[in-house]
Symmetry: C3
Subunit: 418 residues, 3 copies
């Protein structure tokens, strides 16, 4: 996963343009992607697909001919969606177009201006402090023209049409945690799935406008989304954070809470700010989509700065995120509501070889406890995750007990968990 992050890092992504296409090409080497190109001007919900932005070069050259700000060194140096510029300006004239982080003087900020026509450069405060009065040659060799918005889907067909939506944004330039780590973990998760019960849909799309475009073009499909996660900031050193869906009690909320219980983690309530859960959880859709991150949105000093580089994300952290996701997939795949077919009194497990025969001992095993719990709560109202939570037993033990009891004809699956 870390190699994928390193490879994607130099590309200049934005909400449209060739950077997104190049990114999807690389992801497409790992996963079969369906790539969608949506023309500029297309109405998508309350929004319109904007003009496509591409950039070749940009710099601020001082009187000695030195590029003091240089797009080639880092694509963060240009405000995203900057219109073309070619001018000579004094520092005073240039100043309103320069963005720095005075409190983090060594870092370059990340700025965009998608929907207001402007241009600008981002640089460290240290660089700015060293700049003389000029004049400066100021060039942004960009184009802002009719074109397309690009996004991609990877679908792992399941035995049912019920979908699990995993979404990550692909519109940030050289920022590793936000969101190349998310792209890498989603790619790895997709690669692991084999003949699942649910259909898993991975969405690689630009933030906000990409999610809105997907929603606009898939309105009828949203009814199939049973569970969903936006995935971002998946590789920083912090603990995992799950942000609940707007519903707050959706199955995915309970699953993620259960999966994270035994790891360092935080669970926070939904708020209409953050990543594309904002769109999926808008009140008209109100999809059961939560958000999984490590340190959440805007919660670390490197957030949206040049400090969010490939060294900021670690293979270990991404593996931990993937592991938690995999555990969640296990629960989503195996959870279900069952009916005890012998609900009057306990069935005689010993006769069926399901119970140790020598009574009177207090060291009854976890497997036997799991069978008793599954039998007791399988009244059609409780799913296996419910039973795991109420009993304090691991979900896996409960799922195995259900399997054994189903095999013995004592249990019948009657519906989804949750």
């Amino acid at each position: 996963m870390h190699a994928l992050v390193e490879r994607l890092y130099p590309l200049c992504r934005s909400i449209t343009g060739d950077g997104v296409r190049a990114t999807l090409d690389i992801v497409g080497e790992h996963l079969e992607l369906e790539v969608h190109e949506v023309p500029t001007g297309t109405q998508v919900l309350d929004w319109t697909v904007p003009r496509e932005w591409n950039i070749r070069d940009a710099y601020v050259k001082d009187p000695s001919g030195t590029r003091v700000v240089d797009f080639r060194r880092s694509n963060l140096h240009v405000v995203g969606y900057s219109v073309p510029v070619s001018a000579v300006m004094t520092l005073d004239e240039l100043r309103p177009h320069l963005h720095t982080l005075p409190e983090q003087p060594g870092l370059v900020p990340y700025r965009t201006s998608y929907y207001a026509e402007t241009w600008g450069f981002c640089l460290s405060q240290d660089t700015l402090d060293g700049m003389g009065p000029g004049p400066y040659e100021v060039v942004i060799d960009s184009t802002l023209a009719d074109g397309h918005l690009t996004y991609a889907e990877h679908v792992v067909r399941g035995r049912t049409d019920e979908e699990v939506l995993i979404s990550c944004h692909v519109c940030h330039p050289s920022l590793a945690n936000d969101n190349l780590a998310g792209i890498a973990v989603a790619t790895a998760l997709a690669g692991r799935l084999r003949e699942p019960r649910h259909t898993y849909r991975f969405l690689f799309a630009p933030g906000t406008i990409g999610a809105i475009t997907w929603l606009a073009r898939n309105r009828e499909r949203t009814g199939r989304v049973r569970h969903g996660l936006t995935l971002a900031c998946a590789g920083d050193p912090g603990a995992l954070t799950y942000k609940r869906s707007r519903r707050g009690d959706a199955p995915i909320d309970r699953v993620m809470t259960a999966v994270l219980r035994d790891r360092p983690h935080t669970v926070v309530d939904f708020a209409p700010y953050g990543y594309d859960e904002r769109q999926f959880c808008s009140p008209g859709f109100n999809l059961p989509v939560g958000s999984l991150t490590r340190t959440p949105y805007a919660g670390y000093p490197e957030y949206h700065t040049s400090g969010d580089d490939v060294g900021f994300v670690s293979p270990e952290a991404m593996a931990d995120t993937l592991d938690a996701l995999w555990a969640a997939v296990q629960v989503l795949e195996r959870d279900g509501r069952y009916q005890n077919l012998s609900p009057y009194g306990e069935p005689q497990l010993g006769r069926r070889g399901l119970y140790g025969s020598l009574g009177g001992r207090s060291d009854t095993k976890q497997a036997q406890m799991a069978m008793l719990w599954v039998l007791n709560l399988s009244d059609g109202d409780h799913g296996l995750l419910d039973i795991a939570q109420r009993s304090g037993l691991p979900f896996g033990a409960v799922a195995e007990a259900a399997g054994a009891l189903e095999g013995a004809g004592l249990l019948k699956r009657v519906g989804e968990g949750g």
Copy 2:
């Protein structure tokens, strides 16, 4: 407000009589009052309006001719509703009619006997300890005769018939916190209201029998009471206390809890003891009426003693009570449920000038967060107070966001808050 307390303090109020009339006359200098006179013998719910009590003088004169207990010095010295007496008695004979507070020997207690025909004097234990064997001249120059029970209403008409009931009792003699401060704060609040949405009804009535009389004569009107508060003990040095309505989850309960959140305060559950919330919250009416006090009923040593004098209440405390009430009025007036008219995805706020156009910054302002929260939760089920509480944003910011969004055609009011 403190000047009003000082002016009302010397009057000898009881549940009937000229002291109540004189009190309402003075309040009537500040507010337009409708004064009601209800004849003795009138059946009111399970009760009957009692005879009217008036008193001119009362004393216990020692053998030297000195008034050792003197109604003219403090009207607390006579047990309320004492029948007339004119006798010469030894201390031993008088003793069963004398009430003191042995544990607060310097204070005179407050006692009444409305519904059992008797008489008595209240005095400090110190005074009693200094009294010789007598004989004493014992005089209570009172009358207990057919007359009227007096109460008054002040109504601020609103744009709707939905009423907010603010009730305070006017039956206590020289006790400043209980309840002259309540009368003063209610009077000040009434004077502040200008063309409100709700109709505000201020009730100045004797405790218990006055509230019961009002309820008996306004049975059909009680259905209009959407929110209510009994107001008492509004000027002591303690923190504010809100006692929930019997319902426990009425809008007024949520409003007061929200308003008090950022002040020192206590919130307590309903109990069928205290002030006239007992009557408003009797199970047949079960009105959404809570109780606002500072230190609650019987919770301070000066309670129902001569220690509850004009020095015990402060202008600052009364101003703080009024301020909290005013904040509650703001919420009652501005709360409401709205419908997001663009609920699929977020509407594009930038295009409508509602959003800062330079993205990528993490210091999104409170106003923008408030807009996102209002949009996200305006599904017809959540009121603005709900949204303020769930988001942790100030109610005012949320209400302003709703106004801006309504102005932009993105929101429509669909009902009351709460």
Copy 3:
């Protein structure tokens, strides 16, 4: 109660056989019992009544003729339901049939093997460590043959058919806390009941198979069980423990929680392990049956060992268990929902002699507070236990207030509590 425990202690009980019959004979000296004999082979729910087991003698005799393990010294020495044996074996051959507690080397464990045909001896690790290589004479003089399963009921008829089920198991041999103390406390409780409102059914039956047999033969009657408790481990030095019914919010759960509130105690959620609440709370029946113990199932080191002897249970502990049960019976008998017949405003209690007539005092008595609470919450929705809990008043005070108000014509009983 302790004398009963001492008398029952030496009998060799199992899930069938003469030990159970002798136990019920002794209980029958205190209570009128209906004894049921259910033939071997009878189908009971998912189970079959097993063959009857009886034992006369058993021992392991060493080469010197000494009985190193001797059933006559303690019936725990033989694994319950051991088939007959008569053999000479070396220690190595005998070893697989010997059960000890290596971590409690001085104690003899309790073991059974009801449904797998085998035999064995239980002994202390200390005894085993002192045994030479043999050969040993090994004898179990038992019979395992068609016969009956025996259980008994004692019923105290109430004024209604609604039943309270008190169940205790009678299948353990010489174990005092588990469950002779339970039998003794149940017997004492039954003896105390006089013309109750509910019908009380006491069930003395072997664990698991006995409860299953009763359920199989009384399916239609289970609908009458309004409240129930399994009673076990009633005499150890630990604090009382109440385990909630599977429903978790049944009236018995609320009653027991209230009754235990002012004693050292623990309340735990239902789990499908423990005593016969497992059967009563199986999902098909889901009866409102909780479990009352002192230290719970398997929670003390003496559990299922020779350490659980008559010295382990105390008269004081059994009296405390009985006292808590008796308090619960008081609530079950006296709880109810009432309707305030004068619900508009407070009724005038003073006129009816129900209220102190001298007002203005803050030391209103508990009895008067109880009346106000009962009047306020008697809207048909709240029972007296609800009112006691919400007011913080003792249940007895609330029940007395309800009685006084009913006597004054202010209240009418409209239904069960809970």
